[in-house]
Amino acid sequence: MSQVVDPTAVDGPDDVVDLAVLDEARVRLSTDDAVLRLSATEAEERSGYQPPTDEGLGERMIMNMGPQHPSTHGVLRLVLELDGEEITRSRPVVGYLHTGMEKTAEQLTYLQGPTNVTRMDYAAPLFNELVFSMATEQLLGIEVPERAQWIRTLMCEVNRISSHMLFMATNGMDLGAVSMMLYGWREREELLRFLEQVTGLRMNHNYIRPGGVAADLPDGWEEHLDGVLSVLPERLEEFDTLMTGQPIWRDRLQGVGVITAEEAVSLGATGPILRSTGYAWDLRRDLPYLCYDQLDFDVIVGTHGDSFDRYSIRLAEIRESIRIVRQCMDKMPSGDYRIQDKKVTPPPRARIDESMEALIHHFKIFTEGFKVPEGEVYVAVENPRGELGCYLVSDGSSHPVRMHIRAPSFVNLQTLPHLMQGSLIADTVAIVSSVDPIMGDVDR
């Protein structure tokens, strides 16, 4: 069961693991045979029956699951080595959605950057834009206005709810609670409608940009958002009735896909996977960015590190995000929604008609882009799936030398073989679903 940890408690992670335990886990993880080390081609060639080997392994079967499989949420391929019904070794094979977005980023200006990165984690696009914009702003050495910070916080939390709703829908569908799929999509759609009202698009918003956000919140945004938020709590109660308390649901998830805190830390897993082990680490609380240090919310942790904990953490995080959004609505200051720096943000449309200088600035920004001082920076934010980082290197021109995204889904996928070892093949779907990988983020 999930529990709430006092956000002021400083000794959160320390209680759960220490270095000796970590050392032990590291040895186990780097020597155990949970990972089936076959290349994609080898796995294809060797698929099927495996006769007993000299090392005492019995009969095995190598099976390819995916990349086209409804439960893999995109194009994730799993190579499974089976002993009867039991998974002995496995490996995720990724790359089917790779489109070289990091290379593309080197061809684009910093202003065009958010259009590119927003397509990575398509379930939580605003976080991608946020992390890229924050990295660019840090290189530029600019501080965005307070209202822009609050708008960003608000929009990201709405996006977090919609992303977790997507998880609720797909997780339900994967486990046979098909009505949950409809409920999850319905709630997500209402949140996307709000995002559409503000940004103009349901997904791939390109709303958060270096220097602030693209546009101010539209008239009537509070009523719209309030309407959405007021129906959510009762809908979440329905989710509880439909799933959380159900014996079938619990049997399907509890004790399935267990990971310990030391394994999660050693494997670099973040987000709900790390927190499900009882390890209270959330960047919003521990290394605050935006306005999170002025907000009151709890970090949700689990105790068993199983699929059920990961499910209930996400459900509880929706409730926490609703709290955060409410506080953002109350505290939303007035002011500029983007920095008034003519070298970074385009001048207001009306100024272009009357000022030659404004026209030149506008033209320069959209043709050449703005120049960013030489330097390198790493910025990280807490995305619904874990730590989303951006490493940005600039040589002083208007295009980045290197833009690397630390994708939480990509790193979290490494836990899959360890979660699945020894479990039944029927639980594969439950485990993959509980890791909640977004393949666009994995492959970039």
Binding site: A40, G100, K103, L267, E374, G375, E387, V411, D443
Partner: protein
Amino acid sequence: MSEVTEGATDVVPTEPEVELLHGVPVTDSLGQQVLHPTREQYVPLVEQLRSEGYWMAVDLCGVDHLLTPGRRGLPTGTEPERFEVVVNLLDHRNRRRTRIRLQVPDGDAVVPTLFHVHPGLEASERETHDLLGIVFDGHPDLSRILLPDDWVGHPLRKDESVGRIPVQFKDPTASGGPRP
């Protein structure tokens, strides 16, 4: 080697003295601590930092500086090379980050693996190998991860072409000219 605590250089000295941590030069990049080990110091340094609380290796990536051969913020004594391997470490208890920038020469792009220190870097090292062609010596399974196994080249290298393919939106001959 003398150990100097971080944050000790508030005043910028005229003759830049290189600050050291575990014998490794330290610089500051926009408020973030950056370490510049040699390839010999690299693995022992990460191991040492891990025992001091940097339990999680968050990220590893590579950078190709073929077109930007300048000093790019490196301390005196560290020679810039074509490739850089960048590792981000995170200390949960003290809530701090540090970054390692390792210079890797073009002709000998081999780096010892960190897999045995941080097993979670396995996929990131494979990705860096795949996209930049840096070899991680001792890695258990250095195969391509994002690109197909039979792919030739390493696309994130700066001398690798972007490979623009001209897109034909409409075949002018098929429909017999422009639409009415």
